[in-house]
């Protein structure tokens, strides 16, 4: 069954095998032997890499002393380099390159405004992938079409108000109902909803630029090959009365 995040799984599975060592483990590698084991060195069978701390008696001075690594003759220790298995991976700058960001298209006809917007915000932030890193822009580009057919429940169609302060001075507030704004500028409704759900900082503003909302069913981004995820979005856009 297509899951909400299946796009990410597909794309990731293809790129995962490149650099990952085959590490299916539970416990991190033992870092530094315990002092009890340090003294016993079975000649030649195992080589302990790395400094070992041995306890010393006395109240003054260091509590432990670094032991010399006991290496048998003729064995060279290789420098293992940075520990990649025990440190949490955080993506570097080049991983946020624009060319790596996937494109996604959603047909908003008949979807409820808020429930659609939360999922869109998750997509934009990259919260649908296991490599989610909140401080970097690893999200996807989201194209929304048929934005004039977004739906709200209850009396919101006539009664939800959109306010704006036109000139910034007192007395210049303009109020518009949902149906009036949807007739005039339907893209603004979805944009405002999603912008309220993104972080309000520099990164949030950058994420917002990855959202492309269009009225009607045409969009100019065919060259980017956006993947249609409307089915997954619809499956997750349920109302609480429909929840099983």
């Amino acid at each position: 069954d297509p899951s909400f995040y299946s796009l990410a799984t597909m794309a990731f599975a293809m790129s995962a095998s490149a650099a990952s060592a085959s590490f299916v483990g539970s416990a991190p590698a033992a870092r530094g032997a315990s002092s009890a084991r340090a003294a016993s060195f079975n000649g030649g069978a195992s080589v302990r890499v790395g400094p070992v701390r041995l306890p010393v008696g006395g109240k003054r001075g260091a509590a432990t002393v670094t032991a010399k690594v006991m290496v048998p003759e003729g064995v060279t220790l290789e420098k293992m380099g940075k520990d990649i298995f025990n440190t949490t991976y955080y993506p570097k700058g080049e991983d946020t390159d624009n060319s790596r960001r996937p494109w996604v298209v959603i047909d908003a006809a008949g979807l409820r405004l808020g429930r659609l917007s939360t999922l869109v915000a998750t997509y934009l932030r990259g919260g649908n992938v296991a490599t989610h890193s909140p401080s970097m822009n690893m999200g996807t580009y989201v194209v929304i079409i048929n934005s004039e057919k977004v739906v709200v429940s209850g009396k919101k169609f006539e009664e939800k108000l959109y306010r704006r302060h036109e000139t910034g001075r007192p007395g210049s507030m303009k109020i518009e109902q949902f149906n009036m704004l949807q007739a005039r500028l339907p893209e603004r409704i979805v944009e405002r909803a999603v912008r309220g759900m993104l972080p309000k900082n520099r990164l949030g503003r950058e994420l917002f630029t990855q959202l492309k909302v269009y009225k009607g069913s045409e969009h100019p981004h065919a060259a980017q090959g956006p993947v249609d995820v409307t089915a997954e979005v619809k499956a997750n856009c349920y109302s609480s009365s429909m929840k099983k």
């Binding site: 085959s22 299916v24 296991a130």
Partner: protein, 109 residues
Amino acid sequence: MHKDKILAMAKGFRGRAKNCITVARNRVEKALQYATRDRQQKKRDFRELWIQRINAGAREHGLKYSEFIHGLKEENINMNRKMLSELAMNEPYSFKALVDQVKRMKGIL
């Protein structure tokens, strides 16, 4: 001298805080306080990040984080969140195996 020690710790600070001892002393004290506080917070922050990643990875396969962790506890799989998140990122098939085991336990799969 203590002054030199403080100015050595103030390298990279903004404006006069890296040059003038009066300003530098205040900022270095603050910096040390922040460092102490954040050594405790670092543990919390990383656990948050791991949980977010496990949540995203599990939702890719149709389970929520809460259900996934509950299933792991029931199955007595005691992997910590750090390694689970590394699996989710780098070993997707292994992670899927864990998710499938939880689903089998819950009777979903």
